[in-house]
């Protein structure tokens, strides 16, 4: 039934309308771009963490793989930046496929192994002996194809794609099968769910979203270094935003990112000392009183969160 998608689609339309209109009133395009970036990453992480329970601390690995995959396609193969973004997404999926065996691990072991994998990728990319391909530690320069507006709307497209994916998972049998896997793999397989296949698909979709985001970010920023696109801050920010908003819904990660990323920009950049204090307190409060995120307040009150 299409009708069950209506609430999720409503949220997506609202976000798109805001992001299409805002540039006409608000001139800080860089802030809007980064907001979209984290909204998309939050939804991407939601796919794997919210629906299957795997917490990928190395999520930034896909982001970096996307940025470099696109950059290599653009600089060496002379592909147009738009298709470069898609190739960035595919590069992240390829890394995801290599890392599928990690899904056999669970809990902290998975988180640590994934973190290590992302760092390994960072050291490979930053290796000076690969200078001809990745430019090693000297960074990538895409200024010849720089186009702020085109990359802005490409990022918006990536965000819409990520939100639609989560909407599909929130309302489909596939999403339900993932939730079943998250809870009890044996019971899921006894309902006929192919556990290995379903969680691998979720993993690759999640990687694809991070790869597309990384690629769009690389295009928008034009100049970046391995330390920029493999920075652990990307993983940590995304995870905190998702946990703050609430997992398993379309709206939860959006709310978390909108609140926390705005706060980071308005307090964090001007007065970082207060920001750290405030963020720290907020996380303590979150863990103590709202372990399931802001969306859980509504859910406890029996309100449907799209």
């Amino acid at each position: 039934m299409l009708r069950r998608y209506f609430p999720s689609l409503g949220v997506i339309l609202a976000i798109v309308a805001i992001l299409l209109c805002l540039p006409h009133f608000y001139s800080n395009q860089s802030f809007l771009f980064n907001m979209m970036l984290y909204l998309a990453l939050a939804e991407g992480l939601n796919i794997i963490y919210g629906f299957t329970g795997y917490l990928p601390f190395g999520y930034v690995g896909f982001f970096g793989a996307g940025a470099y995959g696109a950059a290599i396609a653009i600089t060496l193969l002379h592909i147009s930046p738009f298709f470069g973004v898609i190739i960035g997404g595919i590069a992240a999926v390829l890394i995801g496929i290599i890392l599928i065996p990690l899904l056999r691990l669970s809990g902290a072991y998975f988180a640590i192994a994934n973190l290590a994998a992302s760092q390994a990728l960072y050291f490979v990319v930053a290796n000076p002996s690969l200078e001809k391909i990745t430019q090693g530690p000297y960074g990538i320069d895409l200024s010849s194809v720089y186009n702020a507006d085109a990359s802005y709307y490409t990022m918006l497209g990536v965000l819409v794609f990520a939100m639609l994916l989560v909407a599909y998972m929130r309302n489909s049998n596939f999403g339900l099968s993932l939730l079943a896997i998250k809870e009890d793999q044996v019971t899921a397989s006894l309902a006929g769910v192919n556990v290995v296949k379903a969680r691998s698909i979720a993993w690759m979709l999640s990687a694809f979203v991070a790869g597309l985001s990384g690629a769009a970010f690389g295009w928008y920023t034009a100049v970046f270094y391995p330390s920029t696109v493999f920075s652990l801050d990307v993983s940590v920010f995304t995870i905190v935003f998702v946990l703050f908003g609430g997992i398993g819904t379309v709206a939860g990660p959006l709310v978390g990112t909108l609140i926390l990323y705005s706060m980071y920009n308005f307090i964090g950049i001007s007065t970082p000392q207060y920001f750290q204090l405030f963020y720290g307190l907020l996380i303590i409060v979150l863990v103590l009183f709202l372990p399931d995120g802001v969306a859980s307040i509504l859910q406890k009150g029996k309100v449907y969160v799209p």
Binding site: A180, E183, A191, G192, V193
Partner: protein, 237 residues
């Protein structure tokens, strides 16, 4: 043998511990079969081997004319086996979601229709459809487990101790519902139990003891067997 399910000299176990020592049994189409055995007899091991959660060390499992001995569990389920474990449901999904998951292979429209049929058999579930599985009572959970298993309209339903953890009143209710389902839907069933009340509607009974099938026959034959009567009914001459 040519039944719906034929188990031929099956051996299996956990790690290096062998539990099943050459068990054979068969379930015919539309037949209700009860597998009786005390704790530790190997009932759960046998059922888990049939659905593929445990590998068969030796022997063959033939279902619906096909050898499924080395098939993955999800493919056995897709092939028409419904399995209800002792726990049976997912506590963090709603009653409706549990049922939807039960009908994972079917179209949404068919699922809704089937869920309505299930609500006819289990009126309590209709009332609690939006509630989490974990918030139901033990008896209601068991009913949800049965309904979830039947959502896919399986050719054969396998149940592991549907009476475990239930009060005698609820055991009676479960038996009543299973009897109704067997009559109305011509269900083929293989139920592992240690509660002899289930023998009431069993058309065939097997007894599993120390990993081997020691008896196969109907209720009358069972009651005529002195040793068995003593073990399970506590009556001796």
């Amino acid at each position: 043998m040519g039944g719906l399910l034929d188990i031929e000299v099956l051996e299996s176990g956990y790690g290096s511990t062998q539990v099943l020592w050459g068990s054979s049994l068969s379930v015919a189409l539309n037949q209700s079969v009860v597998l009786l055995g005390v704790n530790g007899a190997g009932k759960t091991t046998l059922l888990k081997t049939i659905v593929g959660l445990l590998g068969a060390w030796k022997g063959r499992i033939v279902f619906d004319g096909k050898d499924i001995t080395s098939l993955k569990p999800n493919l056995r389920i897709a092939g028409g086996i419904g399995y209800m474990s002792e726990l049976g449901i997912l506590p963090n999904l709603t009653v409706e979601e549990n049922l939807e998951l039960g009908g994972y292979f079917r179209a949404e429209k068919d699922n809704r229709k089937r869920a309505e049929e299930m609500f006819e058999y289990f009126p309590d579930l209709r009332e609690y459809r939006k509630k989490m599985g974990g918030s139901l009572s033990g008896g209601q959970r068991k009913m949800l487990g049965v309904a979830k298993t039947l959502m896919s309209s399986p050719k054969l339903v396998i149940m592991d101790e549907p009476s475990s953890g239930l009060s005698p009143k609820f055991v009676k209710k479960v038996i009543e519902v299973l009897r109704l389902l067997h009559e109305h839907e011509k269900l083929s069933m293989l139920i592992a139990e240690q509660n002899v009340s289930f023998l009431d509607f069993a058309e065939k009974i097997y007894i599993l003891d120390k990993g081997q099938v020691t008896f196969g026959g109907d209720v009358e034959q069972l009651k005529g067997n002195d040793t068995i009567r003593e073990t399970y009914f506590g009556i001796s001459h």
